[in-house]
Symmetry: C2
Subunit: 100 residues, 2 copies
DNA sequence: CCGGATCCTTTTTGATACTG
DNA sequence: CAGTATCAAAAAGGATCCGG
């Protein structure tokens, strides 16, 4: 099992759980993420059936992201994890990077 | 935020959520994990305050692992994720390795 | 039985530049 | 605006051998 692996997936899903977002909106909602990473993670989430991508072929381009029905069942997970991390601080993955 | 990152952490926590386990028991409960990885992940979980380790200096050695009080609040997360993955299949991290 | 220490491979992440 | 292409660095994962 490998749920929601990736440095930003929880936060992405949490953002999307609160409503449709455009690419640029997500980028602003996740300070520190690069376009590259946002693209990669969204693509993976899409492939995993957690995110739905809707592209409008207009000028200027517009792309919207939503969570899928399947992912609705995970919504409490996102909520709990976000809330938990606010209380206990971030967990794991070199949480103490102590640059040096 | 980086919750429960690691290939085995969810499953480890899920196992421990169901009761105290010894090292060897966990190993058997997680087919495919190496002792090395189990050690590493347990150490990280311990450092993150999600797991409590109790070593008995006996012969033969015995070590028990439990989830901490702080981690109790995450128990529904483990449950939901495990249940979800049983329905929808594993998520992410090269789930389609399609070896040639 | 429960690890630690090494060494090596694979995956992930990130910086930067470029495009319809 | 919403990406793609490259390249490089870092982190995670795993095999194997050693020790109390």
């Amino acid at each position: 099992m490998r749920p929601l692996t990736g440095k930003w997936k929880i936060e992405i899903m949490w953002s999307l759980a609160q409503g449709t977002h455009r690419f640029g909106e997500l980028r602003r909602a996740l300070p520190g993420i690069t376009q590259h990473m946002l693209t990669v993670q969204l693509r993976e989430l899409e492939a995993d059936g957690l995110v739905k991508r809707t592209a409008y072929e207009e000028m200027p381009p517009r792309v919207e992201y939503d969570i899928t029905e399947a992912a609705r069942g995970l919504q409490p997970v996102f909520q709990t994890l976000i809330a938990w991390s606010k209380q206990h601080g971030p967990i794991s993955r070199r949480h103490t990077v102590d640059r040096e």
